[in-house]
């Protein structure tokens, strides 16, 4: 069984960005075993990248073949390859930010999506925004590499509102964490 080193990945992220976030103590408390995503840099995405598209198996899921990079309020936006729920970008929030009055969960489930512009795989952190009733707009359920509850951080049905004041689910965001390959 091959796989991500999520633990090492998380540690690196924490070392790199601990100075930029006021949520350090929260992250430390949670540990780095689940992707904690209060502040993430968007690693370079060269939309004009002339490199040949990646031809890995992952690039060829049905979602990846049809994904687009222009409109983050549509279910086929490339980052949403494993999102489940209402898109915060349709609810008064953004692709990686929460609508007014909602609270971002400090932890999230993750996915690996192919950017059609460069054909490369990127790690996504899907962070729920919590504390309001269901947004109800732009309901998506994409399932690339989505697995079952015994691997919770790769499951998109869990309500990822741990550590928020209210665990009620409002909508979901897709934060770009970095290149996956």
């Amino acid at each position: 069984m091959t796989g991500f080193d999520f633990d090492g990945f998380g540690e690196k992220l924490l070392r790199k960005f601990a100075g930029r976030t006021s949520r350090r103590s929260m992250l430390t408390r949670l540990g780095a075993t689940i992707v904690a995503a209060p502040v993430f840099p968007l690693l370079p995405v060269s939309r004009a990248n002339a490199a040949k598209p990646e031809r890995s198996a992952e690039a060829k899921t049905g979602f990846a073949r049809n994904a687009q990079t222009k409109d983050d309020t549509k279910c086929d936006y490339w980052r949403y390859c494993a999102i489940d729920g209402f898109l915060c970008s349709c609810c008064g929030g953004g692709v990686s930010s929460c609508p007014p009055g909602a609270e971002p969960s400090p932890v999230s489930w993750v996915g690996t999506c192919i950017n059609p512009d460069d054909g490369k795989a990127y790690l996504m952190a899907y962070r729920d925004c919590c504390g309001k009733p269901s947004c109800g707009q732009c309901n998506c359920d994409n399932t690339d590499r989505e697995t079952q509850l015994y691997v919770p951080q790769l499951n998109n049905d869990v309500i990822w509102c741990f550590g928020t004041k209210s665990m009620e689910y409002h909508c979901s965001t897709g934060v770009l964490v970095g290149k996956a390959q």
Binding site: T2, P38, C98, P100, A102, P133, K165, M167
Partner: protein, 409 residues
């Protein structure tokens, strides 16, 4: 200030750090999971040419400066939440936490949103709590809760929770099954008193006096709150509450303190709200359209007003928009198939706008390029230009409930 109580969620967060760290390697691996990719993640920027560097920070949006074209649309009967939409774009801007049994109050001064609500400690059971929740209109955060005695549970009423023009006092209708009104001081954020109001409901703010209300005996009651004890006075009866009732979801113009009522048969009543309200003689909306007046007798098919929130008033122009349908008397909940645009001053129907789908609720924005919002059972809200009557677009999944706009009531 009563804010959130995070005890419950805190409890889930206090697992000792060592518990996760001391887990068996196999278990840890499982918790960490694995993906179908073959290479580990590197958290360094790749050396691609001319990268577009962006930074993604977790943040929570604030609402921009409010536009008069915003609308606040309730979900259906069983759904919580009132969605805020920009009528120019159809985009959702945010959501106010209106719980299932609640009424939304938009502060006339724009400083807060108020939610008059009834909740139980255990969803359907437990201890009942009646309160006004106070939300910041920019962050949509809960900033306070004001406990109060009971309030009536009922759907789709716009006049059970009204706010004084200065934004300082809220009036909340209760039926227990005796009839009364809770007076809440919003400046001090505390409940003041309950005023008994037997036989009346459907409130109107009455500036400098207190509030007024419609009564089952066909009068308008006025409650003066300036004295030591509230005093209740009534106009003479001017309508029949059972033979030709007026819709309790009526329109009110804060600028002129005038109320506009429409009856089941289509009579339009206008009332000046003051210490001693004055109600003008009614006139027929059908006659104002050059048609014969509405009747109460069966088998008489005519255009009649109907729906749940069946009328909207544009204050500056005095134009009243009424949802009308063809039917018999006692079809007052039938959705409208046309909007009739009434010039109140001229007492003329100046336009009849056929609708593609029937509508139950209508509201109009209060600016000089007004928009109409209409909706019904189908969960979409339609946006029309209130001057050209062009049907601009539908907002899907907006919710099929009551519609509010700033300054309309």
């Amino acid at each position: 200030m009563t804010g959130f109580d995070a005890r419950g969620t805190d409890a889930t967060m206090t697992i000792p750090h060592s518990r996760r760290r001391s887990a068996a390697p196999r278990a840890l691996l499982a918790l960490l999971g694995s993906a179908a990719l073959t290479s580990p993640v590197a958290a360094q920027p790749a050396a691609t040419p001319a990268p577009v560097l962006e930074s993604e920070e977790a943040f929570v949006h604030k609402l921009p400066a409010a536009s008069p074209h915003w609308s606040y649309i309730r979900g259906g009967f069983d759904s919580g939440g009132t969605r805020i939409f920009n009528g120019d774009t159809g985009k959702m801007l945010g959501m106010i936490n209106t719980s299932k049994w609640s009424d939304l109050g938009l502060d006339p001064t724009g400083k807060f949103h108020y939610v008059s609500e009834t909740i139980w400690t255990k969803v359907l059971r437990g201890t009942r709590q009646d309160l006004v929740a106070v939300y910041d209109p920019v962050t949509l955060d809960l900033v306070a809760e004001i406990p109060m005695p009971g309030r009536l549970l009922i759907g789709s009423r716009i006049n059970n929770f009204v706010i004084s023009d200065d934004g300082k006092t809220g009036y909340i209708y209760n039926l227990s099954p005796a009839s009364s009104v809770n007076v809440v001081d919003f400046a001090k954020r505390k409940f003041v008193q309950t005023v008994e109001l037997p036989g009346c409901a459907s409130l109107l703010p009455n500036p400098g006096v207190g509030f007024s209300a419609l009564c089952g005996d066909g009068t308008l009651a006025t409650v003066a709150l300036s004295g030591k004890t509230p005093t209740v006075t009534h106009t003479a009866p001017f309508f029949s509450a059972t033979n030709d009732p007026i819709f309790d979801n009526f329109a009110y113009n804060r600028g002129t303190s005038e109320a506009t009522f429409v009856s089941y048969t289509g009579l339009i009543y206008q009332a000046k709200i003051a210490a001693t309200p004055v109600v003008a003689a009614p006139w027929s909306i059908q006659a104002a359209a050059g048609l014969r007046v509405g009747e109460t007798k069966p088998l008489d098919i005519n255009w009649l007003p109907g729906g749940r929130q069946p009328m909207a008033l544009h204050r500056a122009t005095g134009r009243l928009y009424v949802l009308m349908h063809k039917g018999e008397y006692w079809s007052h909940k039938d959705p409208g198939t046309e909007i009739w645009v009434v010039d109140l001053a001229a007492r003329k129907v100046v336009r009849r706008v056929p609708l593609k789908k029937p509508a139950e609720n209508i509201e109009v924005t209060q600016d000089d390029k007004p928009l109409l919002f209409i909706n019904g059972d189908e969960d979409a809200t339609r946006v029309l230009d209130a001057t050209s009557y062009e049907q601009k677009f539908d907002i899907e999944h907006a919710g099929g409930g009551l519609i509010a706009v700033a300054g309309a009531r």
